[in-house]
Symmetry: C2
DNA sequence: ACATCATATTGGTCTATGCCAATTTTAAGC
DNA sequence: GCTTAAAATTGGCATAGACCAATATGATGT
């Protein structure tokens, strides 16, 4: 019947959050521990969950602050760039290479094993803050993709205008995942931070596999939206 | 550059997992702590993440065991029951009441405030293990729903056959959430366990809002799948 | 053999503490 | 005033340990 002690503290801290507005600093961990007559460890566990839920943000040496829990929508079939209007968003190309398709990749893109696959890794940001990592895999060499993509920004737009590939169907698989050490570093979150992991297979106007994508989105900042009708 | 210490232990435990098969017991926390020359606290943090990822399962007094990380797919527009073929699944009705629509509910279902809304809360299980909580809200009293639903099992089938409501469009919003104390208890997971939270608005053949649903799915056991074409 | 009860084992929770790292604040020097 | 350096503050990370709760084990008695 009784709640875990850390959870009680979480509820009490939520009250503090409710009384203030985003940007306000809450009391220090040591002060909260003393005020609520508990250990700093327990307070930190409570705060950790509130950070994961996007209600708090903390910085070493500065303090812990009330955050704005708004979420960005990622829609099916619309690229990231189309969906983040109204924000100062940008996209950093982390890498664009041609690799040889392994067994799994070959199956996903329906190409022979060892054939050339183009891999594009991008970091998505909003107001300079990293929010998502997307790794797209395309069947073939796609010569000149670097330059064409640079000019347009949107991958799907580039595929359509330059390579005649019109993405017309897609299947997304959405699940939770915990940030691995390297992804956590790139995204600026703690190792183990919950993420939305999206795997997408997309097909062109002829029904051929055109893209296989893996996206990692900060769980506290994103919501995946899918609409369907028949 | 260096990895967090608990994360190193996580990788080492993953090696142990890789060498065995589901059901095998791994060494106790105290033994792992001694073997890896670290504290039990650090080992527990590593194990906690592996539990969240579905790689381990632990029981007080028994031990920690290698788990089978398979995930169940939840598809858009198909009910839970249609999707879990091959498993011994069942559904427990936690509650079926008629309530008055509040402001938010009224807006979501496009009905007047204070009008009657039917709320159906169900617990979804597989082989007796609770896996998901779904709360559906329907606009209107839906007399006899208890009996009709009992006979058919599937809500969408009941709506179609008995009430002439054919769900023909839906929008799902998928995000991560941490299990609150009561939901954690119902699902048999720890408080704070990552979940997939799905909000669905569904419309009938005339474009009228027919359902508003909130689902909580264990993040370690589910994957949301959405397919679209144009 | 079987059931019962005490004991040991194992995970669950919380505490107290130490030290490090990033940042802010204060003091010192010019 | 301004810059620079030292000190204090605050979160980050890991440790050791105490005690509890659930389960498994082994001893005991019949």
């Amino acid at each position: 019947m009784s709640l875990p002690k850390y959870y009680e503290q979480k509820l009490r801290i939520l009250e503090i959050i409710g009384e203030t507005s985003p940007g306000t600093m809450i009391p220090t961990e040591r002060e909260l521990a003393e005020r609520f007559d508990t250990s700093r460890t327990t307070i930190r566990k409570a705060i950790a969950e509130l950070v994961v839920e996007g209600r708090l943000a903390r910085t070493q040496g500065r303090g812990t602050f009330v955050a704005d829990p708004k979420k960005i929508h990622v829609r099916q079939m619309t690229s990231f760039s189309e969906d983040m209007t109204g924000y100062k968003t940008d996209s950093i190309v982390l890498g664009l290479e041609r690799i040889e398709a392994g067994g799994e990749m070959a199956a996903r893109l329906d190409v022979p094993v060892d054939s050339t696959v183009t891999r594009l890794r991008r970091l998505r940001r909003q107001d300079g803050e990293p929010l998502a990592i997307e790794a797209a895999h395309l069947p073939g060499p796609f010569p000149g993709l670097e330059i064409e993509l640079e000019a347009r920004g949107s991958l799907y737009e580039t595929l359509r205008e330059v390579y005649g590939i019109d993405i017309s169907a897609a299947e997304d698989h959405v699940e939770t995942a915990l940030a691995a050490a390297d992804d956590a570093e790139t995204l600026g979150v703690d190792t183990g931070h919950p993420l939305l992991q999206v795997h997408r297979t997309a097909w062109d106007q002829h029904g051929r596999a055109a893209e296989w994508m893996r996206g990692l989105y900060r769980g506290d900042r994103f919501r995946f939206v899918a609409r369907i009708s028949r």
